[in-house]
């Protein structure tokens, strides 16, 4: 059977992470699954975890005035869901819904924050990886905001 440590190690988000850190992370990890249609997290609720998506598809949703609920991004295999666990006041900023059956590894945010405070090298490694994801999301959000297909003929 695949151990959690092995699954965590094989996820692209943790590629190249040292063995000692993987062991620390695996101590905060658990296997989770969400049926299609089920909400994984809700805006405003406490952000106590993040997820390494292994299979399936997750829609990030916001309620837009006069437009109802909008999916602004989908995430899939190999993606990371959630970074609000890392930033006070630790509340989710949007909703995430499983579109299809989704399997993931949940990492306990409080457990990780404690380990990062105790081991700054681990904290720095994690922050670098999250910073990379945030930078990419910022870039794609800027691109999305340009609404390029509406302007183009």
């Amino acid at each position: 059977m695949e151990t959690l440590e092995r699954i965590v190690a094989e996820h692209p988000f943790f590629a190249g992470l040292e063995e000692q850190y993987l062991q620390l992370l695996a101590g905060c990890a658990s296997n989770v699954r969400f049926e299609g249609g089920k909400y994984i997290l809700r805006e405003g609720e406490e952000a106590s975890q993040f997820f390494l998506i292994r299979h399936g598809k997750v829609a990030l949703e916001i309620a837009a005035p006069h437009r109802g609920r909008l999916t602004v991004e989908t995430l899939g295999e190999g993606d990371i869901l959630g970074w609000s666990w890392l930033i006070p006041p630790y509340h989710w900023r949007l909703d995430a819904r499983a579109v299809d059956l989704t399997r993931a590894i949940a990492l306990d945010g409080k457990c990780l924050r404690t380990k990062c405070e105790q081991n700054h090298d681990l904290g720095y490694e994690l922050l670098k990886r999250f910073a990379h994801i945030m930078e990419r999301r910022l870039e794609t959000t800027r691109f999305q905001l340009l609404d390029v297909y509406a302007a183009h003929k």
Partner: protein
Amino acid sequence: MATLPTDPMVPDPYRVGQVWKETSDTFTLALEPADGAACSGFSPGQFSMLYVFGVGELPISISGDPEDPGRLIYTVRSVGQATHALVSRKPGEMVGVRGPFGGCWPLAEARGKDVVLVAGGLGLAPLRPAIYQVLRHREDYGRLIVLYGGRSPRDLLYRKELAAWARQPDTQVLSTVDYGGLSWRGHVGVVTSLFRYVRLQPARTVAMLCGPEIMMRFVTRELESCGVQAPDIYLSMERNMKCAVGFCGHCQYGPYFICKDGPVFPYSKVRSLLEKHEI
């Protein structure tokens, strides 16, 4: 008796055959030569000048199968007077056709390699002939990867064909929309976000891009960060046109005339122009 070469400035009369509604403002038209002769052949990536009598003439890419000799297919989005007049033509009505003009997608250079096509919005139309060509000559190419981004699910073109292409061997077709409603089960996010679901082999990849310029700027950056070299990236450019044969200068783009030097350019040739936003 020898036939005179046709004058590239004189339109040939074509009759509108079938018309398909693709989206709320975009239609595909099949044009057939009025005299029943075979169409002038074309290569994927080329465009025609379509003349709507009494309204005006406009450049439109050929979006059909290059090996269908009986008709020319165009996909047109109604954005102004001429495009509106064109998409309002009924079967049997006449349209003037000049061309085909311009260079083509580098399908000969891409033989033996993986072909990555990245389209945004209406940009799938000029790439569709390249897809037909690769699928028809499948053994000449490696993997075919089509990444397509649109504004919303109802703005996506050729949805049935996209699904059919995705079922072909060694072919990956991924579509995404900038915004999706709750009933949309596909990807949501800009077209560059699809790159994380494909494994490119940069050294054996030829990429062809078509869509709004700003989208192509984002995509070229993404391709380069995946290791694809600028000379292996090609894009199709658009500017207003009049003569389409390099006389009038209307389509000037830096040192090039898009009608005769393009519309398909290697990225390495136009990179510095693409980065100057005002050109």
